[in-house]
């Protein structure tokens, strides 16, 4: 339990730094990959908190968050593949 309580602030600071890059990313792709890594790390944080709370019923949220973050990536990539021309606006 001591290890978990010590490593919780590292995760919180990392979440805030990922969110800063997600806010001010120059292109949409920067925000997308930053929020994607944020979702995966929140999934790992939920697993660690389920050990801290000692309840294995809390683990299902981690599985769902890892799967739907992948859907977010695919949606943004599909927008650029289908609906813009190749070599177009440079992502803006």
């Amino acid at each position: 339990m001591v290890f978990i309580i010590v490593s919780i602030p590292l995760y919180i600071v990392a979440f805030i730094l990922y969110a800063v890059r997600g806010f001010k990313g120059p292109t949409v792709f920067d925000s997308t990959i930053s929020i994607d890594a944020l979702c995966y790390d929140v999934s790992a944080f939920m697993v660690i908190l389920s050990v801290y709370f000692r309840s294995y019923l809390l683990l299902g949220a981690g599985i769902l968050l890892a799967l739907w973050a992948y859907i977010l990536d695919v949606v943004i990539a599909r927008y650029y593949d289908r609906f813009t021309r190749i070599g177009g606006d440079g992502g803006d």
């Binding site: 730094l17 792709f29 790992a44 599985i63 606006d89």
Partner: protein
């Protein structure tokens, strides 16, 4: 549990702490790198080293926590391995899809001009 439980607790907790350090370093790199293609490198480190390793570490840590039955420990550990393998498959695939979309939409890589002052 005795000595074995103590060893498992220390190994699992150390892996969780190292995963947190990986996560912090990846977040710093995302903020410091100049370009999308170099930020992709740091982000993939954050997804694999910061998410897969702590989940496996907490699956080890569960076997050292006192006061749980064996079926409860297995109910913790098996879904954790499922989540770790899912992230191990989906994180490189999603990063590759976004990188391909960025390259096909004409995003230029960063090129340092000689004599330019570094920001």
């Amino acid at each position: 549990m005795g000595l074995g439980g103590l060893v498992l607790t220390i190994i699992g907790g150390a892996i969780i702490f190292i995963g947190g350090l990986f996560d912090l370093v990846a977040a710093l790199g995302v903020n410091k790198f100049p370009d999308f293609y170099t930020r992709l490198h740091a982000v993939t480190i954050g997804a694999i080293g910061g998410a897969v390793y702590p989940i496996i570490g907490s699956a080890i840590l569960v076997f050292g926590v006192p006061g749980l039955s064996l079926s409860a420990r297995l109910s913790f550990a098996l879904p954790m391995l499922v989540i770790a393998s899912l992230i191990l498959i989906t994180a490189p695939t999603g990063s590759h899809a976004v990188a391909r979309a960025a390259y096909r939409s004409g995003l230029k890589p960063y090129r340092r001009i000689p004599g330019e002052v570094k920001k």
